[in-house]
């Protein structure tokens, strides 16, 4: 809806959205200049939970930083484990046993499903539907139980080790995962799609709302479902394969529309693709050790290294500069939501408050990952 928007300061007011607001899912603050219910200008204000993770990396050993990785994107913590591990392994030249790679893929994909389920729940909650949240949490709970049984924690995992994983998966986990996949397969079309995706109110709320063009994605460096929802087929797992992803047959869902519905559908399809990957990984799971031989104190040779993984929200990149000592010289973390959020101001201009919040929900923000 295009409505002439006056920018005269006496006809606008500033609305402070956050840092405590039900829709910002964390301590994000957005300074909105409003004309009635229309947004004239939106300015995200970051930094409320900045914890200096990158600096902390420079203060401890390589292994000590592993805990921190899970504290950034707490919803897809294992991908962050993976991204960091991958970079350090590349730097130190560690050969990872094949079983470990499979276990990593299985757990990361399970974690991705749980992250998307939680996003779905929170997104529908943003749109005012409270009930779907509890159904999604019911399914997510099963994943958390499974991951707890192997990793020992439920949210901030520290499961990966350089050249290995902390704990081997057993038959119980494999059976439990298969049972869960069967369960989610039957529930996905019945509960998620029939009740919510097809709902006319939901569709009217998110179709053609918050359209992001390819050009905007390129300018802001958007990745993940936001980029794929705008019609660009880019997935790190496919374009810059790492781990054992080339062994699996999976699709990269792409939607051309670029609206909130497209991003919604990308994530819903990704849940299905993750299930496919997990099934194949479980079928192909090789026997073998779960830990490579790694020196007690890791000292990667001097150099500049980079590793990237596809996290639930987009590309998580890790740039490591090593000076050959036991602590990293510099660790730069590239988190996807930071870039995805930075386009909010441009897109939200001229939008209704309610639509802007629906758009914000569709970006899938995790604030601790923006404020590292």
């Amino acid at each position: 809806m295009s409505v002439p928007i006056t920018c005269r300061p006496d006809e606008t007011f500033v609305l402070n959205l956050g840092p405590q607001h039900p829709a910002t899912h964390g301590v994000l603050r957005v300074k909105l200049t409003m004309d009635g219910e229309y947004i004239v200008k939106a300015e995200p204000v970051l930094g409320y939970i900045h914890r200096m993770h990158e600096k902390m990396a420079e203060a401890g050993t390589y292994a000590q930083f592993m805990n921190n990785t899970a504290r950034m994107d707490y919803l897809h913590a294992l991908a962050y484990n993976h991204g960091y591990c991958l970079t350090v392994e590349r730097a130190a030249g560690i050969e990872v046993p094949e079983r470990v790679e499979y276990i990593r893929v299985i757990t990361v994909e399970l974690n991705r499903i749980s992250s998307h389920l939680l996003w779905w729940a929170a997104f529908v909650l943003d749109l005012g539907g409270f009930t779907p949240l509890l159904y999604a949490f019911d399914d997510r709970e099963k994943i958390l139980d499974l991951l707890e049984s192997v990793t020992g924690s439920r949210l901030t995992y520290c499961y990966f080790r350089f050249g290995g994983v902390y704990n081997d998966i057993d038959d119980n986990f494999i059976e439990g995962t298969r049972a869960f996949l069967t369960r989610l397969r039957s529930r996905l079309p019945r509960i998620y799609h029939d009740l919510v995706t097809g709902n006319i109110i939901l569709r009217k709320r998110i179709e053609k709302i918050g359209v992001v063009s390819k050009e905007q994605c390129r300018r802001y460096g958007a990745t993940g479902p936001v980029l794929r929802g705008s019609g660009v087929c880019y997935d790190v797992r496919r374009n810059e394969p790492y781990s054992v992803y080339p062994n699996f047959d999976f699709d990269v869902p792409v939607y051309e529309e670029g609206d909130s519905m497209a991003r919604y559908m990308v994530r819903m399809d990704e849940i299905e693709q993750s299930m496919r990957i997990i099934e194949q990984a479980l079928d192909q799971l090789p026997e073998g050790p779960i830990q490579a031989k790694v020196p007690k104190i890791l000292k990667p040779p001097e150099g500049d290294y980079y590793g990237a993984v596809e996290a639930a929200r987009g590309t998580f990149g890790c740039r490591l500069v090593s000076d050959g000592t036991k602590t990293p010289y510099r660790l730069k973390l590239r988190s996807p939501t930071y870039c995805n959020l930075s386009m909010f101001g441009e897109i939200a201009e001229g939008m209704l408050l309610a639509d802007a919040l629906a758009f914000m929900g569709s970006l899938d923000l995790v604030i601790p990952e923006i404020d590292r």
Binding site: L15, E37, L127, T131, Y135, L195, K204, R205, L352
Partner: protein, 328 residues
Amino acid sequence: MDTSIWRPIFYLIGFMAFAGLNAAYLGWCERKGAGHIQRRTGPKEVGPFGLLQPLADGIKLMTKQLLVPRGVDGALFRVAPVLAMIPALTSMVVIPFSDKVQGRAVDLSVLLIFALASIAMIAILLGGWASGNKYAVISAARSVSQNLAYEIPMLVTVITIVMITGSMNLEQIAQAQQGGFWHWNIFRLDKSLLMPVSFIIFYICSIAETNRAPFDMAEAESELIAGFMTEYGSMGFGLFMMGEYLNIVVGACLTTILFLGGWDCPFGLFPGIWWFLIKIYLLIFSIILVRWTYPRTQIYKLLNLSWKILIPFSLVNLLTAALFLKIF
């Protein structure tokens, strides 16, 4: 009329009890219903099945300080919650629960109820405005435009009913529908073919008028925090909540009387107040079910729904009913 002293007192106590119980226990029903819809149990700790929970909440709210923040229009801020409650309570007086149970028979009771219902909107406007909170002001503005938009189709459907019945007295409207469900206004296709449609319009409007999800624009918590209630605590908040539930009861009563035959039994057996109560609680349950199933709409789509769909349909229905009345 030798019982003229006792009648008002009896009804006053009766209606206050009915209103109080409804205001308190609909909250419980809603939480319990929401719980079961969401595969939870709902309240269960305080008393059997959590039945004492409303009491505990009430005591908690009453013992809290009524905080009036600085920069607030004190008088309006205090008056608004009362204004939200009183009209709903007053409306109860003219509602005929059965042919015998009615506080006061007023010839223009339909008009009176709608006049009172509009005051609830003013309460929200005052509450939001007096708070001086930006979210509350947005909420108040939304609420007014929403209520204005939805009162029109609602009143047009009511005019249809009034034309068919030839009376603005709720009791007479209900009387005219006695004798089985085929006499109910919703099924009276001989008066206008669009009667079921106008029932749906009235139902949607009553949800919108009472600010219930999916039309709860004024309280859209993911956008406006708590809307006009953001600055309210203690019984100020409590009164708004009770007012909301009472408005739902009044809305359900009106729907029942205007469309579902009032206290009439669908099969012509034992008409009485119990049928009236069954009907209103089924309606209230459906409203709760809708709230916990669907996401919220957006304010402009909501207004479009009213102006572009509901109002034309209700006008067509009005014209058809007028035509039928003229011809037959």
